[in-house]
């Protein structure tokens, strides 16, 4: 094969692949602006005959989408901020502070990574029920406030910090919390950004646990609300596509803005051991 043909083939395949990956998302945006009923006509329309915001209006005015958007933002932000603090502290301690049983404790955590989260879900539901947390924001937020993956990621990164930095500060009489806040945290900034978007995206997209823990509509996150709406409105494709846009857009924008950090974290997290 001539280099020229190889080049055409490779770029042609890339264009085809990218089209398959992106087209459904673009189509979703297009259908979301269609007047009601247009999506259920033949031949399937590609663009709206006249673009309308009716679907979005109906979602926010009648279907409570504003509430779900608020819930999703609140839950994902709370999880991200608090779990970031907990995971940073724990990951740093596992990497840099000596304490008895450190190795063994970390081994236990790593071992627990093989247990799928769903095994814990049934007793967790009962536990939260006895605590009176079922169907509150807390039911989704509290169990997510620390992750083994997050601790692991921070530990990997923090191991690279030279001990001399902390040692010098200790000799100067700085306490451990001050060392953490003024010396360690600034050095961990890149991994903080990475972990923050990872956590936010995971919390935003999470489905099974919120579906179990949030039994009443008033606390639904966007994915749960969308799943429930889509069971009620099987035929209203335009409305559902608008709902999908509202659900996907925030995370897609976040990813596009911070892509580099996200992809780095993906690679760091997959290099086990």
């Amino acid at each position: 094969m001539s280099p020229r043909m190889a080049k055409a083939l490779i770029n042609g395949l890339l264009i085809g692949g990218a089209a398959i990956a992106i087209a459904p998302l673009l189509y979703m945006v297009s259908v979301s602006f269609m007047p009601q009923g247009q999506a259920s006509s033949l031949p399937p329309p590609v663009l709206p005959t006249h673009a309308t915001l009716d679907n979005y209006r109906q979602l926010f005015l009648n279907a409570g989408m504003g509430r779900y958007l608020f819930n999703s933002l609140l839950i994902s932000t709370a999880i991200t901020v608090i779990s970031l603090a907990f995971n940073l502290m724990a990951g740093y301690a596992f990497a840099k502070l000596e304490f008895k049983g450190r190795q063994r404790l970390f081994q236990v955590l790593l071992g627990a990574l093989v247990i799928p989260a769903q095994v814990a879900m049934l007793p967790l539901f009962l536990l939260l029920k006895y605590m009176g947390l079922v169907n509150t924001y807390g039911a989704v937020i509290v169990p997510a406030l620390a992750t083994i993956f997050g601790i692991f990621l921070v530990r990997q990164y923090a191991s690279g910090i030279p001990d001399d930095l902390m040692e010098a500060a200790r000799i100067d009489g700085a306490g451990e919390f001050r060392i953490f806040a003024t010396i360690v945290m600034p050095l961990l900034k890149p991994i903080m950004v990475t972990l923050a978007i990872f956590t936010f995206l995971a919390a935003w997209n999470d489905f099974m646990w919120p579906l179990i823990a949030l039994t009443g509509q008033e606390h639904y996150t966007l994915p749960i609300a969308l799943a429930s709406l889509s069971r009620e409105h099987v035929q209203d494709s335009e409305l559902m596509m608008a709902g999908s846009v509202v659900t996907i857009l925030p995370v897609l924008v976040l990813f596009l803005a911070l892509q580099r950090y996200y992809l780095e974290g993906l690679l760091l997290g997959s290099v086990k051991g």
Binding site: I10, S41, A90, A93, V114, L122, P123, V142, L145, T247
Partner: protein
């Protein structure tokens, strides 16, 4: 001494969360699975009885459990290789020196990964719509027979597999790209001088050098695919004729629709044991391959 105390203060919040809301429930699940915890026990804990392995025993005799396991295995056995082939293919294209606009293509191919499963499932459900869906329309206009994608028990699971591959392949693509970039360029250089074809280079350089990455990615993907739940929940509700009911879907219905929490915990544990056995076997096989 002071450092030790600080260290414990640093790890304690995370350990409390993980211990109380993950490790404790896992242990509790084991106990729950040998009780008859149901709606009556939920109302009054005194109705709880110890039933030993009864839950496991009756599950093994239920056709629905076996079919759910069968569907899940089908999803894993067909879905994982397809997903890996798509990931590796895309990674190799992106890694080629002839490829242009790489950052754009990488972002485009990766985009489905960050989207919300439920939302994109809603899109694909519309695309796969038998009557108004774009896919059947295109098939029809090029003279191919149309398919009742999500309504035909034989097609529903393949349709979900197609959707899952579309949604997930970008993740492993990124990992494969890093693996490919780590292969020294002079290996290919030497092979080219020896006159090795592109296919020979792929077989004798790319695949062997990529093996550690491949093992890790396969194991992670297999355990991810065993946890099939949201796709059938949104696209088919486990149907038609329960042809897309996965093990986790069964666990969800058993636990949170019928409130048989004891039996649902047994389902969860069986899934865990199967996942553990399969991934351990994969790891073992890959090690044996190295020794030979």
């Amino acid at each position: 001494m002071n450092t030790t105390r600080a260290a414990w203060l640093f790890v304690t919040p995370a350990l409390i969360i993980l211990g109380l809301f993950f490790l404790l429930p896992v242990v509790a699940a084991l106990f729950l699975s040998v009780t008859d915890y149901d709606l009556y026990a939920l109302a009054d804990i005194r109705n709880l009885r110890f039933v030993a392995l009864q839950n496991y025993w009756s599950l093994l005799q239920r056709p629905l459990f076996w079919s759910a396991l069968g569907h899940t295995v089908y999803f894993v056995v067909v879905g994982v290789p397809l997903s890996l082939i798509a990931s590796l293919g895309a990674a190799m294209l992106l890694n080629s020196p002839l490829a242009r606009f790489k950052p754009f293509f990488r972002t485009a191919l990766f985009a489905p990964v960050v989207t919300t499963v439920v939302a994109v499932a809603v899109i694909w459900r519309y695309l796969f719509n038998t009557k108004y869906g774009l896919i059947n329309y295109v098939l029809d206009s090029i003279g191919m027979p149309t398919v009742d994608w999500l309504g035909d028990p034989h097609w529903a699971m393949p349709t979900i597999i197609l959707f899952a591959v579309w949604k997930n392949f970008g993740y492993n693509m990124i990992i494969f790209m890093a693996g490919l970039q780590a292969i020294p360029g002079d290996l290919y250089e030497a092979a080219r001088i020896d006159g090795a074809s592109a296919i020979a280079q792929f077989r004798h350089i790319t695949l062997p050098m990529l093996k550690p990455t491949m093992v890790m990615v396969s194991i992670l993907t297999v355990s991810g695919y065993f946890q099939l739940f949201a796709e059938p929940y949104v696209m088919t509700e486990g149907g038609p004729l329960q042809s897309t009911t996965s093990v986790l879907y069964l666990m969800y219905e058993e636990g949170f629709k019928w409130w048989n929490l004891g039996s649902a915990s047994a389902v969860a544990f069986i899934l865990f044991v199967i996942m553990f056995a399969v991934t351990a076997a994969m790891l073992r096989l890959s090690k044996r391959g190295e020794a030979a």
